[in-house]
């Protein structure tokens, strides 16, 4: 253990000891050999079981008797075994071998300075008491010696701060700003009122003119409608007149034409022979052809007769000629 503790004896017989401060090692059940301990296992002193805290009146201390009962020993052994089993998996720890029969292990302090472990705590009483007060005269008032000059000063009312004077600029600014704002607002309102009035005037004018325009439009429309109607009427009238004139002319002409028509027709018909006396016609139609036919027949007969005669005559003549010729 690299302890930097050293104690040495002085020449005059005093012994001094000093060591560097080192933290308390956390206790381990079985101390490993010092050579293997490379690192101090620091532990928090507050949680160190070796530190006594709290009420010490019911402290659990080692029993003073060295010979415990066998039953108690048995209990302790059981507890130890249980604890041993709990920690068996952590680390195999070397334990002190069991005591031989008839013997027993006993804890012993091995420090340099032995302590008496008992539940009787050594305490000493100490008292102190102040002495009774002796009568003493009261101390006189301490008045230090006067040094320097005495000078007095007093601030009269109204000297440092004159409200009326100071408030003037602030008031001016406040009032000025308020009045300016108010003026601006009033001007704005006036402007708005002006605008509104102008708008109203415009609207009225517009309505007026619109009404006038519409009226004129309507008037125009009506007039033009009226005109058209009149024109149409006039056209109608003209047309009727023309028609009437045409009709009259046609009528006159027809009359004139037709007046001549009947005699002309009759004449033409008569000319064409459509009027006939039936007897005459009949005579003409039936009698005359028969008559003529008969006449023809008769004449034919005569001709034939004549021709026959002529023929005979010729024949005779020829015969005569022939006969005479000789």
């Amino acid at each position: 253990m690299a302890s930097s503790s050293h104690g040495h004896k002085h020449s005059n017989g005093l012994y001094t000891f000093s060591s560097r401060p080192r933290p308390v090692d956390s206790s381990s059940k079985c101390r490993e050999p010092s050579s293997e301990r490379t690192q101090y296992n620091y532990g928090n002193i507050m949680y160190d079981r070796r530190v006594v805290r709290g009420n010490t009146h019911a402290q659990h201390i080692l029993p003073t008797t060295a010979q415990p009962d066998p039953a108690e020993t048995q209990k302790q052994m059981i507890k130890k075994r249980a604890a041993a089993r709990k920690q068996a998996w952590k680390q195999w720890r070397l334990r002190t071998p069991e005591a031989l029969q008839g013997r027993k292990h006993i804890d012993v302090q091995t420090e340099l300075y032995l302590e008496e472990l008992s539940d009787h705590i050594v305490s000493t009483h100490a008292e102190c008491q102040t002495d009774a007060f002796l009568d003493k005269p009261s101390t006189p008032l301490f008045i230090p010696a006067k040094s320097g000059k005495d000078v007095g000063t007093q601030i009269e009312e109204g000297e440092l701060f004159d409200f009326d004077r100071e408030v003037q600029p602030v008031l001016e600014v406040l009032v000025g700003k308020t009045v300016e704002q108010a003026l601006l607002e009033v001007m704005e309102e006036e402007e708005l009122a002006c605008l509104k009035a102008q708008q109203r005037a415009f609207e009225e004018l517009r309505h007026n003119e619109l009404a006038e325009v519409e009226r004129l439009q309507e008037q125009e429309r009506r007039h033009s409608e009226e005109k058209e109607r009149r024109v149409a009427q006039q056209k109608e009238v003209l047309k009727k007149e023309r028609e009437t004139a045409e009709k009259i002319a046609a009528r006159a002409y027809t009359q004139q034409y037709l007046a001549d028509l009947i005699p002309a027709v009759f004449t033409s018909l008569r000319n064409h022979g459509y009027f006939y006396d039936p007897v005459e016609k009949d005579i003409e139609m039936n009698f005359f052809p028969w008559l003529m036919a008969e006449v023809n027949n008769t004449l034919e007969k005569r001709y034939i007769a004549r021709e026959m005669l002529d023929g005979h005559l010729h024949a005779i003549q020829w015969c005569l000629l022939n006969c005479s010729g000789f």
Binding site: E204, H207, N208, L210, A211, E212, R215, E218
Partner: protein, 341 residues
């Protein structure tokens, strides 16, 4: 420090920090940040920075928050944003419109009113009115629901109606067909008889916009709205009278309208209005103009011409009015009355 407002950082960091605070889980904290933001947004510089910094997208989540006061404050913030043109453009280009329109059905009335206010400001811009045109049927539906509620709903119900009506009239200025398609004429006709003059005024204004296209004029003629309007011509509020006269002026342009107006004997009423209001006050100038135009339109019908020929001196007097527009209108009226075919 005011406990209802969150602390505001200095300089350029004020708006981003407050917007960062809006992500916190407790509603009270968010409410305080929103209240501070509302105060800050009245300044145009900060508004510009907010808009160009693109913080408006974060408001999208807040519009769907569970706490109604948070929603209502967000709508108020949006209303302040839309008070300036750059804010309006930003809101239009972002995707906040659908969420806003969903809030119109919200249960708490303050968030509804604030959302309506924001939409109203948006509708004043033509591009905004264009974007809101698709919302018009929904707005008409809400109007109908309002109709079903009690008459004495108090100021809140009235304000909602007024805002709804003014938004509808702004959108209809651009294009009146969606409103007409959702049966606008009869709905607005019912609103003409409400107690509060603002509601009547806005309803009459919307009717005036709706009666500009021909379809609208026909519907107004066919519905039972005209008698109510003629009654409104004698209302106490000048604006209501003006708007009613405007509707009559528009309706009298078509022939059916002329005939119905003449049936309802509207000419004496209009002449009455003219003679009373010959003084040059700004508000009544419109009334005079509209009445003159209505009379001009009515004078084109033969019956109307006959009636007005008798009143020619009155019209001649109006030609000497100081305002050039009124003079012109009166001259046109005289010309039309004395025209012969």
């Amino acid at each position: 420090m005011d406990s209802t407002r969150a602390p505001v950082a200095f300089g350029r960091w004020d708006v981003p920090l407050l917007f960062g605070r809006l992500q916190q889980p407790e509603a009270a904290e968010r409410l305080r940040s929103l209240a501070s933001l509302c105060d800050l947004m009245r300044d145009p510089e900060r508004l510009y920075r907010t808009v160009t910094g693109g913080f408006l997208e974060q408001l999208q989540d807040l519009l769907k928050d569970e706490d109604p006061s948070v929603r209502s404050k967000t709508c108020e913030l949006l209303h302040l944003v839309t008070a300036h043109s750059i804010g309006r453009q930003a809101v239009l280009s972002s995707s906040l419109l659908p969420s806003l329109s969903q809030l119109l059905d919200d249960s708490s009335s303050s968030s509804r009113i604030n959302a309506l206010r924001a939409l109203n400001c948006l509708a004043l811009l033509p591009a905004g009115a264009d974007a809101l045109l698709c919302l018009v049927p929904k707005l008409m539906l809400k109007l109908q629901q309002q109709d079903g509620e009690d008459e004495d709903d108090g100021d809140d119900g009235d304000e909602e109606e007024v805002l709804l009506l003014s938004t509808i009239s702004c959108c209809s200025r651009l294009d009146a067909l969606p409103a007409l398609a959702s049966d606008g004429v009869s709905l607005l006709g019912r609103k003409l008889t409400r107690r509060s003059p603002e509601v009547r005024r806005e309803a009459a204004a919307s009717l005036m916009e709706l009666s500009i296209p021909v379809e609208g004029k026909r519907q107004v003629c066919e519905g039972a709205v005209l008698p109510v309007l003629v009654g409104l011509l004698q209302d106490e509020d000048v604006d209501v009278r003006t708007n009613a006269a405007g509707v009559v002026m528009n309706v009298a342009i078509i022939t059916a309208g002329k005939l119905r107006c003449l049936d309802l004997d509207v000419v004496p009423v209009l002449l009455d209005l003219l003679s009373k209001r010959l003084e040059e006050d700004e508000r009544s100038k419109a009334l005079v103009l509209y009445s003159l135009r209505a009379l001009t339109a009515l004078a084109e019908a033969p019956d109307g011409r006959r009636l007005l020929l008798q009143q020619l001196p009155l019209l001649a007097r109006t030609t000497e009015a100081r305002h050039p527009d009124i003079r012109r209108a009166a001259q046109t009226a005289v010309r039309v009355v004395t025209w012969t075919p």
